[in-house]
């Protein structure tokens, strides 16, 4: 933490932002990054991957969350589970690359084997050569450590601490807001996914996504049809924030073709689209004809990978004659998100200015961003109070 701005660090442990933004330390101080990561990312429902990445029974994908090795597995029943990717025997990493498991998860060290549901199936030679049992090795107590997980809109969320409310309660307001969009959506395929590596703290990507204030300046191409005044703030304190537009215009090709609409949407969505920052680290967008999810992977305090995936109706995702449109739509979004890279990286560099005090918020335009700051501060306050009990 720099010596100028010690705001917020009260003896009580409460983090009071005094109406301003999070202090610089939350973006550049390694000790704060560790504390904040525990309070914000470990104790809440954090996105770590996509269901599309484990498409079939037996699909397994290792992921790293703040150095914690996790394994996403789709079992034979088609259910997605998340485990600590660590053998219960000697702590070996179990799966080191995405793969299709045909049977069990076999530890490459001593070949302890786990079912796709995490049960310990066999412990070869554990009681001596050819003796695969021992009274001290109780298999029923040595299954893989299961991490609490939930899949929503194809994003795999985990609550590593196990202390967050049930996902349905945690996300109740978002689920309610977008109830109309609880329809089967299909990943658009290889041309509908891309990643951006950004030299910024993950929170700045959230903050930028929350508000429409920057649109005319950073995305001037939008001005022709989507003016600033066509947008509205979305503010759900303690849960999510974001922006919406009332002039969504469907993507079409030169022949005038469009993607099929999601069935059953109310008239509002003919021209509306919404973009939610679902706290902490997943950014969603919904439109009448497609949706996307952006997973912010916090690689380091100043480095984030944005994983973007686009979804359509079944026909929209698979129709061969729409393949070029899917590619072009993804490219259009890629262009928009790449336009944001400069500002989120610039804000990260700006946080090294020792006299920056967290900044101020426009009472009109920055409400969604302010809510995110207040939510982060509340998570840290809660974690400190829990720790001091």
């Amino acid at each position: 933490m720099n010596s100028i701005d010690r705001r917020g660090f009260e003896a009580s442990g409460a983090l009071d932002l005094e109406g301003r933004g999070l202090p610089n330390a939350h973006y550049i101080d390694p000790d704060m990054f560790r504390e904040e990561s525990e309070a914000v990312l470990i104790r809440n429902w954090t996105g770590i991957g996509f269901g599309k990445d484990v498409p079939d029974p037996g699909s397994a994908k290792p992921v790293d969350l703040l150095g914690i090795p996790l394994l996403i597995v789709r079992d034979a029943d088609g259910e997605i589970g998340v485990f600590q990717n660590t053998c219960r025997h000697r702590g070996m990493i179990l799966v080191d690359r995405p793969k299709k498991l045909r049977g069990v998860i076999r530890c490459p060290y001593h070949s302890w084997c786990y079912s796709l549901k995490g049960d310990l199936r066999t412990t070869p030679h554990v009681g001596g050569p050819g003796h695969n049992m021992h009274a001290d090795i109780r298999r029923e107590e040595l299954g893989l450590v299961r991490i609490r997980s939930h899949v929503w809109r194809d994003v795999v969320f985990v609550n590593v601490s196990g202390t967050a409310p049930a996902f349905e309660d945690y996300a109740a307001t978002a689920l309610s807001r977008w109830a109309e969009f609880e329809k089967p959506m299909v990943f658009g395929g290889p041309d509908s996914v891309f990643s951006l590596e950004v030299e910024t703290n993950w929170k700045l990507a959230v903050e930028n996504y929350c508000e429409s204030y920057h649109l005319p300046w950073v995305h001037p191409g939008l001005n022709s049809y989507s003016r600033l005044e066509d947008h509205y703030n979305i503010e759900e304190p303690g849960h999510f924030s974001g922006q919406g537009t009332t002039v969504y215009r469907r993507f079409s090709d030169d022949a005038g073709r469009v993607f099929p609409d999601i069935e059953g949407l109310s008239q509002k969505w003919d021209t509306a689209a919404e973009y939610l920052a679902f706290y902490p680290n997943v950014l969603f967008g919904v439109h009448r004809d497609h949706a996307f999810a952006i997973l912010l992977e916090p690689v380091a305090i100043d480095r984030t990978i944005e994983h973007i995936a686009l979804y359509y109706t079944a026909e929209g995702a698979t129709a061969p004659d729409l393949a070029e449109m899917r590619r072009a739509n993804a490219q259009q979004w890629r262009t928009v998100f790449e336009e944001d890279v400069g500002v989120v990286e610039g804000m990260q560099r700006g946080r090294h200015g020792p006299l920056f005090d967290g900044g101020v918020f426009s009472p009109v335009m920055d409400g969604p961003t302010r809510l995110f700051h207040e939510w982060v501060a509340a998570q840290i306050t809660n974690a400190r109070r829990t720790a001091s009990i």
Partner: protein, 93 residues
């Protein structure tokens, strides 16, 4: 330690000694090198069954354990049979 099983430049462990195993050495090493689970299951099962037939229960269960592990990993249909044999000899549960 390096994990190549039954390396050909070392003698087969005394409790697993058999001419059949020796004959299978090269085939096993080749199957391991190719990560050919189907072949590994077959070769280890052959070695295990041979040792059991000769009355060498420990050696037999050693090899059948390997066959069983690779069968589990591969989702091989022989996994149930191999498990049943190991269980019958009190080597698995």
């Amino acid at each position: 330690m390096p994990g190549a099983p039954l390396p050909s430049d070392r003698p087969v462990p005394a409790h697993t000694g058999s001419s059949v195993v020796g004959r299978l050495d090269d085939a096993l090493l080749d199957a391991h090198a190719r990560e050919d689970r189907e072949t590994l299951v077959a070769l280890y099962a052959e070695a295990g069954d041979h040792e059991l037939a000769a009355g060498n229960v420990d050696a037999g269960c050693f090899f059948l354990t390997h066959a069983y592990v690779y069968a589990l990993e591969a989702g091989h249909p022989d996994a149930d049979r191999l498990h049943a044999v190991l269980k019958r000899h009190g080597r698995d549960c």
